[in-house]
Symmetry: C2
DNA sequence: GCTTGTTTTCAATTATTCTTGAAAGTTTCG
DNA sequence: CGAAACTTTCAAGAATAATTGAAAACAAGC
């Protein structure tokens, strides 16, 4: 396969993959493009490669920066801004885990906490099933929270090793 | 908080949570409703509780069944079908991991395989960066594949324990 | 402080995804 | 078999999310 075709397929597939995980297609595609670009790209280059508008490029690049997956790079003598993606795939994964945890798990846990103390007769099976379910989800979430924290803190090559340490005391 | 309010909040939040992960709101809400219902519910009950149409209820219940999170239950003397969700949250998580792996990782790996051998000069930095990136993603995916397989096979209470065994040999 | 190049914003538009509801299909039972 | 109860399908419509493009804001250099 030629590079141009392979690039196009990778970008398309990565975009489709992203949409399955609640990430907008363009954001995932820009990420894909930057992952395979040896040098930083300008917003114009991104717009041209993906055939998207300036506003769209700008918005999704900013979002990628918010996620910690892309950073602005200044190139001496150039007035434009350039963008470059973190290439180390372990760091990319860790960063995504970190952000998702922050945006979702850390938000969900207090809510579950609150929901876990409904008023009412504990003998009522509706009350009982509700509180049991919420408490189980809460416990699960708290365990996941700890696990993910350790993963996030772990040094990239000790990523797996640290999981061992984490769980060694639990089983 | 009263049960009715807590139920409503849980359903709404679970729905919002689902949409962040590429799952449609209604499907997540039906799942939430069934998780906190002590007894199986009929399609009509689901329609009424969530104020959704028959078609919508039917479609999303089927989808939940496809995901292995809900099953049809026959109640003696009743002609209607009833639906019940798996309540054990560990099994729920494992089932979701299993399905997502099947639908996405198992599809992605062969694609990465194919993309990893582009024609062209390996000295060309565009070719090199492309193949390096694809290969790194591929290696990462294969590692994830193995890890998830072990998690999926693991008995619920040995879920974490088995992770220890898995990684013990790798670090 | 003006001009030019560049980035950001955001209301309007477009694309995508979800939902409805009625018709067709299926099952059960007298 | 035929009617009643229930489930499934799917085209049309509604809701949601993404994208555009032009105007505003900003920055650099003269």
């Amino acid at each position: 396969m030629q590079l141009a075709e392979a690039k196009a397929r990778f970008i398309a597939d990565w975009g489709r993959f992203g949409t399955n995980w609640g990430i907008n297609r363009t954001m995932a595609q820009i990420h894909a493009l930057l992952l395979i670009s040896p040098d930083p790209l300008s917003a114009d280059a991104v717009m041209e490669e993906l055939a998207i508008s300036r506003g769209n490029a700008n918005m999704n690049l900013r979002e990628l920066i918010d996620w910690g997956l892309v950073r602005k790079v200044l190139i001496p003598g150039e007035r434009k801004e350039f963008f470059s993606a973190e290439k180390d795939i372990w760091r990319v994964a860790r960063q995504i885990v970190k952000e998702r945890k922050k945006r979702e798990l850390d938000v969900m846990i207090p809510v579950l906490q609150e929901l876990s103390d409904v008023e009412g007769d504990k003998k009522d099976k509706h009350v009982k099933t509700f509180t049991d379910t919420i408490n189980n989800i809460r416990k699960f979430s708290e365990q996941a929270d700890k696990t993910l924290d350790t993963m996030i803190k772990a040094d990239e090559h000790w990523f797996f090793g640290s999981l061992v340490k984490l769980f060694a005391g639990k089983s």
